[in-house]
């Protein structure tokens, strides 16, 4: 089972990390994997009967993919990035008092 819902602390019980990986290999083999693990994947690149996809998986799944003959390249540690991203969420309410967000495109009079 591909479980991708992870806490800020990662999986403390097992120490497993969640990884963003690039999987490549025979299209049929990748489809078989996705049929068993109905996850949403990101970038896709198809070259004939070879395919390359980006996907978030935990370490055991990444290992099983390698054992199954697929190439797996770790792009980044999703847990680490996710934890850091959580630290960039605003606290309180910056729009109290009727304030509005400032548009990035409003720069000059044309």
């Amino acid at each position: 089972m591909l479980r991708c819902q992870r806490g800020a602390e990662g999986d403390m019980a097992t120490g497993e990390r969640l990884l963003r990986v690039r999987i490549s290999g025979a299209a049929d083999a990748v489809r078989r994997f996705l049929a068993q693990h109905p996850a949403e994947f990101g970038r896709v690149s198809v070259h004939g009967d070879q395919v390359e996809i980006d996907l978030t998986v935990d370490e055991p799944v990444a290992a099983s993919l390698r054992d199954g003959g697929l190439r797996v390249v770790e792009l980044y540690n999703a847990d680490q990035r996710g934890r850091k991203a959580m630290q960039t969420v605003g606290r309180g309410n910056r729009f109290e008092g009727g304030r509005i967000p400032q548009g990035l495109g409003l720069r000059r009079r044309t």
């Binding site: 994947f41 990101g42 959580m86 605003g90 729009f95 720069r107």
Partner: protein
């Protein structure tokens, strides 16, 4: 970027971090209050499971000649895709500020510009309806507890103490091939699940969730919606229907409604291909290319134009259902050209990466809307 983000108008706040759920809601409320002649706050009828209200904004100049076509955009249907809310809030602030202050808009280091006249003409021709936060409960949970929480927080299908079984993937809860186990060919690697533990869990039935019913309501409230974009992240591309199979333009009855084709969908290279009118296909490709070309001009960033079905199928997503409505109802007046815009290749995005993305996507959406306004479907 700090210089760009400085407060220039008094009473406006630079977005220097992600907004929390309360901030997104209050930003919508305040934008409508600040620009009453141009913006209308729309309170959606249903609160979420955790009791959060949902708000949309209608933005456009008053229409003395009656109803204008609508370009609708929604964001953050997945709890972990935070930046979509900030993109739409920024788009709202830009459009409203530009129109009311008669200032043009400039995006990216290359200085891609829309003049005040171009923005004015756009808001005179069409209305935008923006729903910046389509999954408040999921966003709150992702920002406070589980950074990659994708689903909403409905516990109806929770199994024991297993937290992973909470929630429904809202972008698998729309009425387009929802019964995927019968609609799709056996063994297809369809990106949807009927198992609550999965992050792509579809829910018990189409529109089982208040968030998706609110989107359904919003489209019913604005039947003149001609274009729809659902903002996501994860692959950096602009995507249009269909997502269940390859497409064809000749066999009208070979489509998602035909039970005779159940069990055939989702396999590349076989006889089944989903019908799409050639004119719609060309229009969706053309509008998507406008978006992609604009972003390329703004920041030299590539957004490939793709059909939803690429390598593997998907079902029950928003953009397929929104486009499918006119065929489901057999009412051409409901035709809405629909897109999913995936604005980043990953799902864990640092805030410091967002300003560039916000400028890219806002510039692209305005270009799309301008092109769309010239030739409504």
């Amino acid at each position: 970027m700090a210089a760009v983000l400085q407060d220039r108008f008094g009473g406006s706040v630079p977005l220097d971090d992600y907004c929390n759920t309360d901030e997104v809601r209050m930003a919508c409320v305040n934008l409508a209050l600040r620009y009453p002649a141009l913006a209308e706050r729309i309170d959606l009828p249903e609160a979420t499971y955790e009791g959060n209200p949902m708000q949309a904004l209608r933005i456009g100049a008053p229409a003395p000649q009656g109803i204008k076509p609508v370009f609708m955009a929604i964001g953050a249907l997945h709890g972990n895709e935070w930046g979509s809310s900030e993109i739409l809030l920024n788009l709202a602030a830009d459009l409203l500020g530009s129109y009311s202050e008669r200032k043009g808009l400039t995006y990216g280091n290359a200085g891609f510009q829309y003049s005040d006249t171009e923005v004015g003409d756009l808001l005179n021709e069409i209305d935008f309806v923006l729903l910046p936060l389509a999954n408040p409960d999921g966003r709150r949970h992702a920002q406070d507890h589980v950074y990659n929480w994708r689903k909403n927080r409905n516990p109806a299908d929770r199994i024991g103490a297993d937290e992973d079984t909470v929630g429904v993937d809202l972008n698998r809860n729309f009425a387009f091939l929802f019964e995927f186990t019968t609609a799709m060919a056996p063994g297809t690697s369809t990106s949807i699940s009927d198992q609550p533990v999965q992050s792509t869990y579809r829910g018990q039935r189409a529109f089982s969730e208040p968030e998706t019913r609110n989107i359904q309501w919003l489209l019913a409230r604005f039947p003149q919606t001609r274009w729809f974009a659902d903002l996501h992240c994860g692959s950096q591309a602009i995507i249009h229907p269909w997502s269940d199979d390859e497409i064809q333009h000749t066999h009208v009855t070979m489509d998602f409604r035909a039970q005779a084709h159940d069990g055939q969908r989702g396999l590349p290279g076989d006889a089944y291909r989903e019908y799409v009118e050639l004119g719609d296909w060309n229009a969706m490709q053309a509008l998507a290319k406008v978006f992609a070309d604009t972003v390329k001009a703004v920041s030299d960033t590539d957004y490939p134009v793709k059909q939803g079905f690429e390598f593997t199928p998907s079902c029950a997503s928003s953009h397929d259902w929104v486009y499918a409505r006119h065929r489901i109802a057999q009412d051409p007046a409901l035709k809405t050209l629909a897109f999913a815009i995936e604005w980043h290749a990953g799902t864990e995005v640092f805030w410091h990466e967002m300003p560039k993305i916000i400028e890219d996507v806002c510039a692209g959406l305005i270009a799309m809307a301008r092109a769309a306004a010239l030739s409504p479907p």
